[in-house]
Amino acid sequence: MNVTTTRGWDEFMEGIWKQNPTFVMILGMCPTLAVTVSAVNALSMGISTALVLIASCGLVSMMRNVTPKEVRIAVYIVIIATFVTAVDYAIQAISLALYDALGAFIQLIVVNCIILGRAEAHAAKNPPIPAMVNAAGMGAGFTIGLLSLGVVREILGAGTLFGVSLFGASFQPWVIMVLPPGGFFVLGSWLLFFAWLERRKQRKLAETAENV
């Protein structure tokens, strides 16, 4: 029992850190750059994607034994599209303003390669529970990725965080941060930061290896 929980935890953490879709695999860049102008948008986009990811991976995994390989992609796409439609309705029901802010990117979750990739590479080969745990990890990793962009862009671009003003009324917004180039700049800076972390870690490993 204990062994399986540890494995499940590892599986979950895989998506958040080692195979983070945004910062390691650089997947799903379209929503990452487009909707992260505010933390709320980023968070809701991340959660929507994660929900679609978990639900479709679960269903794909349940159907893995009855899906002939010739039609598997068609089956995956139909399943993913179904859950995207459901999430689309749900967001409209929760808030129209949010729906307008996310725009076409909710429907575009269908073609997000993270989801199809997970379905093909993991869910189709594993039983439902591990598949969903793995999908949840990926979804959480994607949400964290979006959120880390959204937070920086909202703080610099509007001086607020989740709509709460941080610096008072006389804050000078960095307009570029809420424009498309801001997305590229912030993503680039984060990638730079993670590359630097990775490099430092490897240098430390090399040093300890030398000392031993």
């Binding site: 159907m63 009855v66 899906t67 139909v78 399943i79 599209a81 179904t82 749900a90 029901a93 129209l96």
Partner: protein, 230 residues
């Protein structure tokens, strides 16, 4: 070569199994979508109605309820929901105050701004024959410059009583609604632009003018039809 093909055929799944799986998937997915649609239908409809009402109430503060109409291309109008919407018809909203009297008319208009089309909603009051308020439906103007049309007090003051009288024949506006350079407004039908956001200001003026030129000649002669709240 032939042997390879036979081998492939032997490995592949029979068509019936594929159809069965696809059918099963479609059935499950259909159920999920219908379920989601049914569950969220009321909430979505409510949200949409609230959003429209909020937009209309913003430009016509006296309004308490609204009705949706279309102005027909041949003249005249009809309430939405009675049959098909004819081609070329323009949608607008009639707003009523608490006593059921006509508080004003709200309509949408759009014109090319700096980045993309600026879509606005404006409120028209039949008594003074003027535009009494505007709200932005959608725009992608530069934050900090173009979006001043939402916040700039001097600019919004243009729309407390912007003249939109029809000419004697009731065929077009007597004076075109026009955006002029900051600080040079002289007539009640002119809009004083925001200095530094001239292009967006012009788009607002053009949107009001284009929409009013089409809509008002059709509505004003038939105002009586709107006055009775049905």
């Amino acid at each position: 070569m032939n042997a390879d093909l036979h081998q492939l055929a032997a490995q592949s799944t029979p068509t019936a199994a594929m159809i069965k799986t696809l059918g099963l998937v479609s059935a499950i997915c259909g159920l999920i979508i219908v379920g989601a649609y049914q569950l969220t239908f009321d909430a979505v409809a409510d949200n949409k109605r609230i959003a429209t009402e909020r937009a209309v109430f913003k430009v016509l503060p006296a309004a308490k309820s609204i009705a949706e109409f279309v102005a027909l291309p041949a003249g005249g109008m009809e309430k939405i929901g009675t049959g098909e919407t004819p081609a070329g018809a323009v949608k607008f909203f009639a707003a009523y105050d608490g006593d059921g009297k006509l508080a004003g008319i709200a309509a949408e208009g759009g014109a090319k701004g700096y980045a993309d089309t600026v879509r606005i909603m404006f409120g028209y009051q039949p008594e003074c024959q003027c535009v009494v308020g505007i709200g932005v439906v959608s725009m992608r103007e530069t934050p900090g410059i173009g979006d001043k049309i939402l916040t700039d007090k001097d600019f919004l003051a243009n729309f407390t009583e912007l003249d939109a009288k029809l000419n004697a024949e009731l065929k077009a506006l007597a004076n075109e609604v026009k955006t002029v350079k900051h600080g040079s407004k002289t007539n009640p039908w002119q809009i004083d632009a925001i200095s530094g956001a001239t292009i967006t200001s012009r788009a607002v003026g053009k949107a009001i003018n284009d929409s009013a030129q089409v809509l008002l000649p059709k509505i004003v002669p038939a105002l009586e039809q709107l006055k009775a709240k049905s």
